[in-house]
Amino acid sequence: MKKEDTVKLISAEGMEFVIDKEAAMVSQTIRNMLTSPGGFAEAEHGEVTFPEISAVILEKICQYFYWSLQYSRGKETEFHIEPELTLELMMAANYLHT
């Protein structure tokens, strides 16, 4: 595991989530930020800040990224979503094209 292969996602409150780039790329939006030629600042620093996504939602999204990787490798478990998070999570998922 190398540091260059990870990316740091930062929530509205400043909480940080360090995840594999491979996982982050599950989001089309993040993939674009990290791979678009010419480069966003995000690509260089390996950090993306989401001023409108709370920590609890951002963590759930990271969990989804890893669940998605596992799913595509054949481990088809259920992804648990707490009912009280659904609407906020849906908005974030929409933003992240996830």
């Binding site: 595509s72 992804f79 979503i81 659904t86 996830t98």
Partner: protein, 578 residues
């Protein structure tokens, strides 16, 4: 076996493919047409997506669907998300008048509630709360009545309104939508309460591009009110048998009309003369109208006309030389007319034709000579004609042919080798009793075939070996009675199959079900009149895409099938016995 009887598919209304509406997911109107329409692409997509990971958005939507009763309002969500939840609830039939409340003031754009159970007056308040955001509303098949349409007054931007099969709506209801001048598409099929008087409400809908009044028997005299709707591009008044020549007059100025359907009306040659100014008309459906060859004079000046349906018009050879004037046509339907080989000579010059329907006409081998120059033909319908093996040689040079229907003709095995070079063929109907294994042997080169109908042909186990190369077959019917389990061996590896009909082969057993269990793409299976038993049903469990299963006259009960359905065939919606 008597297999070949009562199998004639309804040839009426083939034009529908041109203007399929937004509605019809559940389709109260259509019987089993869903198979034909949803046959090809969607199913393939389902298969491909099976392994695809659900997106987080989908997971959230599903979660909300599960606990929908806990949500009070979605009005804080962005519109596209509340729209997505709404669509999901409709799709899964979880939307009720109670859960609908959560969508109040959500600024939704599309409410497709066609044939949705329980939709009535009480739903209209929340529907109207979408206000000026609402663009498209489908209430077809609902119990909404005239007062319910008052609510739509606030939905001033509404563009598409579908009120098909709403039998509670009458002239009074129409009045309430008379101000919706942004409407572009309005359809209310099968409404017996609407009259000429009520149609006055349509005169203000100046942006209307599409109007569908199919099966409205009381509208005679009402078309005068749409005279000013000059943006109209599509008008259907088919199956309105009240419509007469006089009703054609108001249409004469609608020069933007591209599609006009007046089938099964009382319009005659005289009425057709009112249409001669419609220079943009490309689709004209006159099926079942009492017209004669005289109308070809008018039709020949319609420079844009590409599609003409004249089936069931009682045309005879009289005057049919005028057909030669219609040289632009791409699609011509002359089915079910009293025309003979003498008429076909006048089709010689219609070299743009891509589709020709001569179903049930009095034509034979000698007439087909005149078709040899129609090099653009893709589709030829010769069902129920006197065409035999000698005529097929005239088709052997039509190398663009993709579809030929020879059912109920007198062609026999010897003639089929004339088809062996037509390698563009995708669909071949040989529902002919005298065709046997020997005929099938001539077709092995047609590897592009996707549909092969051998319903009544006398195919036996040894004949099925000729099918092995037809790897692209998506639908196959062999119902002549001669198959046993041994023949199914040659079918079990045709992995593209979506539809398989092996009914009437009374020697097939559960072994057949076991062998076809690998055809996981199947969405329709029929093994009726066989020795299949309920014990064999377990072999069907891998057929996850199966939507229709017919096992009539087998040792299988409806309950057996229902158990199979709940044990793992969630897509099964249509089964017999039921």
């Amino acid at each position: 076996m008597g297999a070949a009887c009562s199998r004639k598919r309804d040839q009426l209304d083939n034009v529908d493919g041109f203007d399929r509406g937004v509605s019809g997911r559940y389709c109260k109107s259509g019987s089993s047409k869903w198979l034909a329409t949803t046959f090809s692409r969607p199913v393939l997509e389902i298969q491909r997506e099976k392994k695809k990971c659900p997106s987080l958005l989908e997971l959230c939507t599903h979660k909300i669907r599960e606990d929908i009763d806990n949500y009070v309002s979605f009005s804080t969500l962005p519109r596209d998300l509340s729209q997505q939840i709404f669509n999901e609830l409709v799709k899964s039939q979880r939307l009720t008048d109670v859960s609908l409340e959560a969508f109040r003031d959500c600024a939704l754009q599309d409410l497709y509630l066609g044939d949705y159970p329980g939709v009535n007056e009480n739903w209209m308040d929340v529907i109207s709360s979408q206000g000026s955001s609402l663009l498209s509303l489908d209430l077809s098949g609902s119990d909404v009545s005239d007062p319910g349409l008052i609510y739509l007054k606030d939905c001033v931007n509404l563009q598409d309104l579908n009120l098909n099969y709403c039998d509670q709506i009458s002239d009074r209801g129409l009045k309430h939508i008379s101000g919706l001048s942004n409407l572009r598409s309005l359809t209310f099929r099968r409404n017996s309460a609407i009259t000429a008087q009520g149609m006055a409400a349509l005169s203000g809908l100046v942006n209307l591009m599409k109007l569908d009044l199919e099966k409205c028997p009381g509208i005679h005299g009402g078309l005068i009110h749409i005279k000013g709707l000059t943006k109209l591009e599509s008008l259907s008044i088919k199956w309105c048998n009240c419509i007469t020549d006089a009703d054609m007059k108001p249409l004469s100025g609608l020069t933007n009309l591209k599609s006009l359907q007046i089938s099964c009306s009382k319009v005659t040659d005289f009425g057709i003369t009112y249409l001669k100014g419609l220079q943009n008309l490309s689709v004209l459906n006159l099926e079942g109208c009492p017209v004669t060859a005289s109308c070809f004079d008018t039709l020949s000046v319609l420079v844009s006309l590409l599609y003409l349906n004249l089936s069931r018009c009682n045309l005879s050879d009289d005057g049919c030389e005028k057909l030669s004037k219609l040289g632009n046509l791409k699609v011509l339907n002359l089915g079910f007319n009293d025309i003979s080989d003498a008429c076909l000579i006048h089709l010689k010059g219609l070299t743009n034709l891509e589709s020709l329907n001569l179903d049930s006409c009095r034509i034979g081998d000698n007439g087909l000579i005149h078709l040899t120059g129609l090099q653009n033909l893709k589709c030829l319908e010769l069902s129920d004609t006197e065409v035999g093996s000698n005529g097929l040689r005239y088709l052997s040079g039509l190398c663009k042919l993709e579809s030929i229907n020879l059912s109920f003709t007198v062609v026999s095995d010897g003639g089929l080798r004339e088809l062996s070079g037509l390698t563009s063929l995708k669909s071949l109907n040989l529902d002919v009793r005298q065709i046997t294994d020997a005929g099938l042997a001539a077709l092995t080169s047609l590897t592009g075939l996707t549909h092969l109908d051998l319903f009544g042909a006398r195919i036996t186990d040894s004949g099925t070996s000729h099918l092995r190369n037809l790897k692209n077959l998506r639908s196959l019917e062999i119902c002549g009675g001669g198959l046993t389990d041994a023949g199914v061996k040659n079918i079990k590896d045709l992995s593209s199959l979506l539809l398989l009909n092996l009914s009437q082969n009374c020697n097939l057993t559960d072994k057949t079900l076991e062998m076809i269990s690998g055809l996981t793409g199947l969405i329709s299976l029929n093994v009726s009149n066989s020795r299949v038993t309920s014990a064999g049903l377990r072999h069907l469990k891998p057929l996850k895409n199966l939507r229709s299963l017919t096992l009539e006259a087998c040792k299988v009960t409806a309950n057996d099938i229902r158990r199979l359905q709940s044990a793992g065939l969630p897509n099964l919606v249509n089964f017999r016995p039921e």
